[in-house]
């Protein structure tokens, strides 16, 4: 391999990084593509970790995003078990720490390092305290749940905590779901749909402790025996899963070069509408906070669909910056965000932006309380739509509502038409 071939480095080898690497090659980049992953595994998928992997339905190999033949077809300079420790956007030098430090000169970099789970103060290193971000995390918890009759305390009632609680309960364990929110996923779904989800979890036998912060993990001989809530209650448990959110993995981007280049690392990697953080530096996936040109606000989305779409967009725009005459103009990244969640036999699907809504309207379209549809928005416009248990054709039709937001008087009528169609 000639040393003169230009190099693009993609840092982060999960869904966003893989989509970027694949996009670069497919769009015609014939230079080196260095794909850096801190885990020793080939790229794998994370949504199944809190579902099929935790439940035991899937063996870990099933989470592979591509097989080895597909990966070798991309002719990657694949560096797994390797951490990026620094990037200087002015010099365009990337420092890696695999078998000793390596400094690579890059034509461009896509940052797709994702997020790392938050924990609780003092909880690190306690046996029986888990997080759920990597395949190894999932396999450790799965081994514990393979023994019947465990008591699991799930701390954090966001989507990850709610899914893990559902899986553990379905396996027959004694499950407590503790969260500062008043219902599971309240911050995203709102009080009414969240309340419905709370009923579903209760009906399946999960004990909910809502509106409660956890102040500490109780231990005996270094092993977790439960969690202590703000009101002093102790929830006894054999295992504790911390699902209390995450922090963007941007430490490697900090430094004088980033400061001089004006890189914004205040909440993830700040990017413009082209997913660019600085000349030659693009962000994708959970780590990237970019300006959505249609919604006219910055978003940082920790959902699977965005990871792939943004990885591909970042690759395309980086190439367009490097060689516009060959790869064309950069294009603003303006997706319709999508997420789904599986809990018990319910499938939640949502398009657009739900979190932080100023106004929510819930419609019960077919009188089944477990199948609501809801609209989320600002004071003026509905910008998000959610449905539970909706057949695929109708669920897809919700996308149009989020793609072209309507004013509130129009939105419920559009939703009714979309779902009836």
């Amino acid at each position: 391999m000639s040393a003169a071939r230009p190099r693009i480095a993609v840092v982060g080898a999960a869904a966003a990084g893989l989509a970027a690497a694949e996009g670069l090659r497919r769009l015609g980049w014939d230079g080196v593509i260095t794909l850096v992953g801190d885990e020793p595994r080939l790229p794998y998928d994370r949504p199944p970790l809190s579902k099929q992997v935790l439940s035991g339905a899937w063996e870990p190999e099933r989470t592979a995003l591509r097989d080895s033949a597909q990966l070798s077809g991309l002719e990657l300079d694949l560096r797994l078990g390797t951490r990026a420790t620094a990037y200087d956007p002015l010099e365009r030098t990337l420092t890696l720490d695999g078998d000793g430090p390596t400094v690579l000169r890059c034509a461009g970099v896509v940052a797709a390092t994702g997020v790392t789970p938050r924990t609780l103060p003092g909880a690190d290193g306690i046996e029986g305290v888990h997080v759920l971000r990597t395949l190894d995390d999932a396999l450790v918890l799965r081994r514990r749940l393979a023994v019947p009759g465990r008591r699991l305390a799930v701390v954090g009632s966001g989507v990850l905590g709610a899914e893990a609680a559902a899986v553990a309960r379905a396996l027959g364990h004694d499950v407590a779901l503790v969260g500062t929110q008043n219902t599971p996923m309240e911050r995203v779904l709102g009080a009414e749909v969240g309340g419905l989800l709370a009923e579903v979890h209760r009906a399946h036998g999960v004990t909910l402790h809502t509106g409660q912060a956890v102040t500490g993990v109780r231990t005996e001989s270094g092993r977790a025996t439960g969690v202590v809530l703000a009101d002093g209650t102790t929830v006894e448990a054999d295992d504790v899963l911390l699902a209390v959110g995450s922090v963007p993995a941007v430490g490697w981007l900090r430094g004088p070069g980033a400061e001089a280049a004006g890189v914004d690392l205040s909440d993830g990697l700040g990017c413009d509408e082209f997913c660019a953080a600085a000349p030659g530096l693009y962000g994708a996936g959970d780590v990237a906070r970019w300006y959505h040109p249609v919604l006219r606000r910055h978003l940082r989305i920790e959902h699977r669909m965005n990871a792939s779409e943004q990885g591909l967009a970042a690759a395309r725009n980086l190439l367009a910056e490097l060689e516009p005459e060959r790869f064309g103009e950069r294009r603003p990244f303006a997706p319709v965000p999508y997420f789904w969640s599986d809990q018990y036999d319910l499938k939640l699907q949502a398009y657009g932006v739900l979190a932080g809504a100023e106004r929510i309207e819930v419609l019960h379209l077919d009188k089944d309380p477990l199948r609501p549809a809801a609209l989320y928005g600002t004071a003026d416009h509905a910008v998000g739509a959610l449905a539970i248990g909706l057949p695929p054709r109708q669920a897809r039709s919700l996308r149009a509502l989020a793609a072209t937001p309507s004013t509130w008087p129009e939105a419920p009528a559009r939703l009714t038409v979309a779902v009836d169609a």
């Binding site: 869904a15 989509a19 694949e22 996009g23 497919r26 998928d45 949504p47 099933r62 592979a64 995003l65 591509r66 597909q70 699977r304 669909m305 792939s308 779409e309 591909l312 999508y338 789904w340 599986d342 499938k347 699907q349 057949p391 695929p392 054709r393 669920a395 897809r396 996308r399």
Partner: protein, 64 residues
């Protein structure tokens, strides 16, 4: 181009149907992907590659 799908991986997001509606559909009962054409003609190839890349369950395999 030869497409294969892994139904057990499919999460029913329907993004493939949005990107390449002549190649993919979804079952009404559970939203699982239905392959309408396993070897589409060249006009569909770009859309199919994009569908495979953005599929949030990596359930679409493309061989060329």
């Amino acid at each position: 181009m030869q497409i294969t799908i892994d139904e057990a991986k499919c999460c029913g997001a329907g993004q493939c149907v949005l990107v390449a509606p002549e190649v993919f559909d979804q079952r009404d009962e559970d939203g699982i992907v239905v392959l309408l054409n396993a070897s589409p003609d060249a006009a569909q190839h770009a859309a199919v590659r994009e569908a495979a890349t953005i599929c949030p369950a990596a359930a679409i395999q493309v061989r060329e």
